[in-house]
């Protein structure tokens, strides 16, 4: 049986990455994710990997790009303002079809904001984030166990699609402690990058990894290829559902807010209200078909977020043929509890 440890979400990210075979970490400190580089600096070198505290976020993201080009399982982590600084390299990675894992423990914004929880980076996370027409896979853990599990999933998906994968937590998931089952996946196959990694071209034709496409028609084809890849990623869509079958109203919420909303839904159920919950596990690809199917059954929707209204746009797009979604935004600056969502949910139920 796997060992169970009491870990913060930050620590779970580190242990999950190591279980996934992460060999390189590049980072630069920022609250509330500092426990990731701190623990990584102890555990990764001891496991034979490389830990680098870079001179900046920009440098650390470009180091990730470089390590990815050699087919190495590598990652970086930061929190909102630091993630903004990494976006250039993430865009280059997406354009170069390079796998890598980026963890964002979302903090309050815009600007430096505060060090508390927020979901203000939803748009940045699900719309690419940097310049150009690209997407990253986005996983949204709500618990320390999911933080562990999703790191393993993130590395597998990054190499399956040769694409950056973002794990989007927040200050709640980062700092909360919960028991985590430390399971180990099958060891990584050493030839997962055999077809494309840069390792010196002795005895074979040289390979080129770049993001510049100047030849006639090349960039158009590149963008068509990317779209085809994003279509294929739809197979990875995931969501938790709770009490949706007979619900009149569906609450849609992700990450830490999703689990807090689940408490609200549970209490309202106890009071006899027919409410249910959909918690997207993947934010890109988005579980729009699932929401559309629920909308087709005549259900109403409320989207609850820790921001001024971002994911609600995806919910509205998903259900638009049948209905709309109302919205409740809990502003960053404070942390919400289940009581905070009861009244908005009841109001949406009317």
């Amino acid at each position: 049986m796997s060992e169970i440890k009491l870990l913060t979400g930050n620590e779970a990210v580190v242990h999950g990455a190591l279980a996934a075979g992460c060999r390189c970490y590049f980072g630069y400190p920022i609250t509330p994710q500092n426990a990731i580089p701190e623990l990584m600096s102890q555990l990764l070198p001891a496991a034979g990997g490389q830990f680098v505290q870079a001179e900046s976020e920009v440098a650390s993201a470009n180091m990730l790009l470089g390590a990815a080009a050699t087919g190495t399982r590598a990652m970086t982590s930061s929190s909102s303002p630091g993630i903004s600084l990494k976006q250039e390299a993430i865009s280059y990675m997406a354009a170069s079809h390079l796998p890598g894992v980026i963890v964002n423990m979302n903090r309050g914004g815009p600007g430096l904001g505060d060090i508390g929880s927020s979901q203000g980076d939803y748009f940045q996370s699900t719309r690419g984030g940097g310049h150009g027409d690209y997407r990253t896979l986005v996983l949204a853990p709500a618990s320390c166990q999911e933080a562990y599990d999703m790191m393993i999933q993130a590395f597998d998906l990054a190499f399956k699609y040769r694409n950056p994968v973002l794990v989007l937590g927040d200050a709640i998931v980062a700092q909360m402690k919960e028991p985590v089952k430390m399971w180990k996946p099958e060891p990584v196959s050493s030839d997962e990058a055999a077809e494309w990694r840069l390792e010196g071209a002795a005895g074979r034709e040289s390979r080129v990894i770049m993001s510049l496409y100047l030849a006639e028609g090349a960039l158009a084809q590149q963008n068509r290829n990317l779209v085809a890849k994003y279509e294929a990623m739809r197979a990875e869509v995931g969501a938790e559902t709770y009490e949706t079958a007979d619900a009149d109203l569906i609450v849609v919420a992700y990450g830490s807010i999703g689990r807090i909303a689940k408490s609200s839904v549970r209490r309202l159920r106890e009071q006899g209200h027919k409410v249910g919950l959909v918690r997207p596990l993947t934010l890109y690809p988005y579980p729009d078909k699932m929401l559309e199917n629920l909308a087709a059954q005549g259900k109403k929707f409320i989207t609850i977020e820790h921001n001024t209204g971002q994911m609600v746009e995806d919910v509205r797009l998903a259900v638009r043929r049948y209905t709309d979604s109302s919205f409740f935004g809990y502003m960053p600056g404070n942390m919400p509890a289940s009581e905070d969502f009861m009244e908005p949910i009841l109001k949406a139920l009317e």
Binding site: I4, L6, E178, M335, A337
Partner: protein, 187 residues
């Protein structure tokens, strides 16, 4: 042990060890085979600022790790009483460190208050810094939340290795808090 559910906010000055006893309670819940969450909330300062944490221990899946209307409190200093006592659930339980906290001005109608002179008791044991353990011992005794044996055994998991020699003293402080409640309160 069907449908066990406990939540508690533990609050005091930074440096009083509220995070440590929060960790200890969470660890003990985990060792008892229950679901637990531990959620810290710091001021920007390490010492002298305010610090609190929320611990939930439950047999069912835990949704919110953040609790605004707690079922119980461990209050180590005056500002924490003023901040958190008004929020306690009707009929909830508050263990209050009466060495540093004056309850006379507080509206205590909502709650059952267990006053424990935690600093004095810890002082008698030789180290006032263990007031946190005295308070937790009193809490465990007052609520019957978890077995004291499990809590005592979990000390080794939350106390840093270079302080391991202090584990027996901390266990004694836990027991002294429980003992005070047994002698002075009708539980």
């Amino acid at each position: 042990m069907s449908n066990k559910y406990i939540d508690v906010i533990i609050a005091g000055f930074g440096g009083q060890g509220v995070m440590l006893i929060g960790n200890l309670l969470a660890y003990s819940g985990m060792e008892s085979g229950l679901n637990v969450t531990y959620m810290p909330e710091y001021g920007p300062e390490m010492r002298g600022g305010t610090a609190n944490c929320t611990v939930v221990v439950a047999s069912e899946e835990i949704g919110s790790p953040i609790i605004k209307t707690p079922k119980s409190l461990i209050i180590m200093n005056q500002p924490s009483l003023d901040k958190f006592l008004p929020r306690i659930e009707q009929g909830g339980l508050a263990v209050v460190n009466s060495s540093l906290v004056d309850c006379s001005g507080a509206d205590v109608r909502n709650a059952r208050i267990v006053q424990v002179p935690a600093n004095e008791i810890a002082d008698q044991l030789g180290n006032a810094k263990m007031a946190n353990m005295v308070a937790l011992g009193a809490y465990i005794e007052s609520t019957g939340a978890l077995s004291m044996e499990v809590v005592s055994r979990a000390l080794k998991n939350v106390i840093a290795p270079h302080y391991a020699h202090l584990i027996p003293k901390n266990a004694a402080a836990l027991e002294a808090g429980a003992e005070y409640v047994r002698k002075n309160m009708q539980v």
